[in-house]
Every structure is written in C-alpha cells, then in structure tokens.
Symmetry: C2
Subunit: 79 residues, 2 copies
Amino acid sequence: MARVVVDVMPKQEILDPQGQAVANALPRLGFDGIASVRQGKHFELEVDDNVDDEALAKIAETFLANPVIEDWTVRRIES
Amino acid sequence: MARVVVDVMPKQEILDPQGQAVANALPRLGFDGIASVRQGKHFELEVDDNVDDEALAKIAETFLANPVIEDWTVRRIES
C-alpha cells in the first residue's frame, strides 16, 4: 500500500478568485507581507502497490484535475 | 520573496464526503486498486522574506484552516 499525493492548482494564466479573496483578506486581518495566494486542491490517496505511475497520472489528469484550466502534480510520499 | 505551501486536510476522524465520492467513482471509471481518497485544500503563497514561521502558522491556523475539523501543514519550497 503506497500513499500518493496529487496537488491540483489553477493554471498560472487562469484567474483564481478564491486565492485572491484570501490574499485581499489577509491585510485586513493584520497579516502583512503576503504578495499572492493561489488556492487549489490536495488529494491523498492510498493505492495498492500494483498501481503504477501511468495509472496515477491518468487518474490525476482525467478525473482529479480539469486539464483545460488546472495543472496537477503526483508524488508518492511513502511506499 | 519566499514560496510557501499550506496543505489543509480534514482530520482523520472527520468524514470526508468529497474524498469518498472520488473513491467510489474511481472503480466505476475503470481505475482499480485505490483504497482511499481524502480531499483537502492546497494553498501556494508568495510571502516577503520578513514573514516568519510563526506568522505563517498563525495564518494557516486562524484563516486557511478550521482547526476544529482540519489539520494543516506549512512548508517553504523556495526562499
């Protein structure tokens, strides 16, 4: 059983209203020095050892992310 | 300018319906061998160099996460 992390983020050229809302709110709450915030999704999967990187990439690309507007990364954190 | 990643995940004892929906859908789509999926949030912040770890922890705990139901981690990926 391996643990896999998939991070999905809006592409750099795509507006990220959630992240902008956070970035705008921080100074009002007294937190200065934050230049930008982008918000995405973080998935933690437990997968069988026979699931290979190709299958994980396919899951990330076709199911966890919308590749038109989002970038994704897959990394194994334990195996 | 440093880049900081904050990951926010539902605590282990908290139900995660989004993650369960993903886990249930994967076999229907032909992806087998995924034992569990949990979904959280992933923030990427660009912060000034004078923002210390204590301030980042406070931002994560009080603003990005709901510490009653969520765990969070902060890591710097570049400085």
